[in-house]
């Protein structure tokens, strides 16, 4: 692309805000009443991170989340979003890949919920709670109808936020479990990229809550960075 510096995000936006939110309205109408099942799944995920689930519970949570990513890849990106955005085919592939990464994580990596006092767990639970309980309400606060709500497990934004929440709230069961740590690292880039991409889309559509996802992504990244740094450096030895 020549003269790339002259392009703005709006130059890549192919649709109007009305068309974008109508997409969710039609999507929700097609899926009704499965939003209830998705909500139950989300509350289960929230319970797993809040109640300090063990390895088995975390494994089930990752499997459920992987299913959500695969569903969003197919039902949202490929079947709906691609009708107004030709790039959504690539997004579908990326979401499917993330679903597979989470599945492998569930199968190979042994993870557990962090200690209650751990900041990463607190922020992880907060992000998951926001994704499952607050995100669907967000549209109503800016005068969009309930029919256009973004529901965890069905819509990309809350699914991505809940994923960041679960990644933050859990840790490798043993420090020596290299597979769990490597897989956890692989699971971060796509959700973070989506936070930036979705934020840019909503900002271009002049959506009032456009900043929520990028800020949540930055918060998750910052807390993860701080937690990792603390784990690698450990407590400083006292000078005698």
């Amino acid at each position: 692309m020549s003269e790339w510096w002259t392009y703005r995000p709006s130059d890549f936006l192919l649709f109007s805000a009305r068309t974008y939110w109508r997409l969710f309205e039609l999507y929700n109408a097609d899926l009704w009443p499965w939003q209830g099942v998705a909500l139950v799944l989300g509350i289960g995920l929230l319970a797993a991170t809040t109640l300090r689930g063990g390895e088995r519970v975390v494994r089930v949570a990752f499997i459920g989340l992987a299913g959500c990513w695969l569903w969003v890849a197919w039902a949202y990106h490929l079947e709906r979003y691609a009708s107004i955005n030709w790039a959504a085919t690539w997004l579908a592939a990326a979401f499917a890949l993330q679903g597979l990464v989470l599945l492998v994580q569930a199968g190979v990596g042994r993870r557990r919920v962090r200690e209650r006092t751990d900041l990463a767990r607190t922020v992880g639970v907060a992000l998951t709670a926001y994704a499952v309980l607050a995100q669907p309400v967000l549209g109503r606060l800016v005068d969009r109808p309930w029919s256009q709500a973004e529901v965890f497990g069905l819509a990309p934004d809350p699914t991505v936020l809940a994923t960041l929440g679960l990644l933050l709230a859990t840790e490798a069961s043993t420090a020596a479990d290299r597979a769990a740590r490597v897989l956890a690292h692989l699971a971060w880039p796509l959700p973070l990229l989506w936070c930036a991409l979705s934020g840019a889309t909503l900002w271009t559509l002049q959506t009032p809550h456009a900043g929520v996802l990028p800020l949540a992504g930055l918060l998750a990244l910052g807390v993860a960075w701080r937690t990792r740094r603390a784990a690698t450096t450990g407590p400083r030895p006292r000078r005698s």
């Binding site: 109007s16 068309t19 997409l23």
Partner: protein, 290 residues
């Protein structure tokens, strides 16, 4: 006022629409066309698709002809095709589309896919979108024109990009149309491209006449000057469009809209008294002073 037979058989009263000749053939084109960027990309939404068909009905009923789209515009081509089918494939339509793919070998397949989406036997005008892969596509389009599979060939750009290349191609290639951004605030093309188009006998299409609506939103914060009635403007949209299409080198402008009321208002800019050079200067100065 004249009675026009709208697409779908509906009789519509419309004032005589001004036209300009396409320099390479003399064929008359109405001064206002219909763009489809963003507004017609409504996906599989049945209600929105019906609304787009109504916009097309109103456009054609008011005497419009050129509808412009691109493979880049999401579902717009399919929405236009469905609209044309609903309206009984009106013969008046001047079908303008683009080729937008980087490799030359993929051009013919994309053009054919676009034609099927439009559901037309052939395009009237095909343009190389944003000059992407023009070296390979222009020979293809010119060969299609020679084989009577296409009537006109053009190139496009937007928002002032690659104007030097546009100029070079206008000088070196036998193109019929050039499409550029031109409006009350974006007037760079007045310096070189519009004079060159007149000199070379190339028709000019103005895209982004309202800066994707931003210009109108800004203008609508102010009262329309009284003297706008001297050129039969009923609002800022007609004011902005009349300024564009009254440039001697301009052939037509292609505002996009998803509103029947707005398309009728836009078509009104192709009727009534038009600004002369002195009035155009006054219009531009007034908008710059706001």
């Amino acid at each position: 006022m004249a009675v026009a037979r709208a697409a779908g058989g509906q009789a519509v009263q419309s004032a005589a629409v001004h036209t300009k000749p396409i320099p390479s053939t003399g064929e008359a084109l109405p001064l206002v066309g219909l763009g489809s960027w963003i507004t017609f990309n409504v996906g599989n939404d049945r209600v929105a698709r019906e609304a787009c068909a109504e916009v097309m009905r109103a456009f054609l009923g008011a005497g419009g002809r050129m509808i412009d789209s691109s493979p880049m515009y999401g579902s717009s081509q399919a929405v236009i095709g469905e609209g044309l089918a609903r309206l009984g494939q009106p013969a008046a339509v001047f079908a303008a589309d683009k080729v937008w793919v980087s490799t030359g070998k993929d051009g013919p397949a994309q053009i054919e896919a676009s034609r099927r989406l439009w559901r037309v036997p052939r395009f009237d005008l095909l343009q190389v979108h944003n000059l992407l892969g023009w070296e390979a596509h222009l020979p293809t389009l010119l060969a299609m024109k020679a084989a009577r599979q296409l009537r006109y060939v053009g190139i496009t750009t937007s928002e002032g990009r690659r104007h030097r290349e546009i100029e070079a191609l206008m000088r070196s290639q036998p193109i019929d149309f050039v499409q550029v951004s031109y409006n009350l605030l974006d007037r760079e093309v007045e310096q070189r491209i519009l004079p060159l188009a007149r000199e070379r006998g190339i028709a000019v299409i103005a895209n982004r006449p309202f800066r994707e609506g931003a210009l109108l939103r800004e203008l609508q914060r102010h009262a329309l000057p009284r003297w706008a009635s001297d050129i039969d403007c009923d609002g800022w949209a007609q004011f902005a469009l009349k300024f564009i299409v009254s440039h001697p080198a301009l052939t037509c402008a292609i505002p996009a809209t998803s509103s029947v009321a707005h398309v009728r208002q836009n078509m009104g800019a192709a009727t009534g008294r038009m600004p002369d050079e002195a009035m155009r200067r006054r219009m531009a100065a007034h908008v710059e002073s706001l």
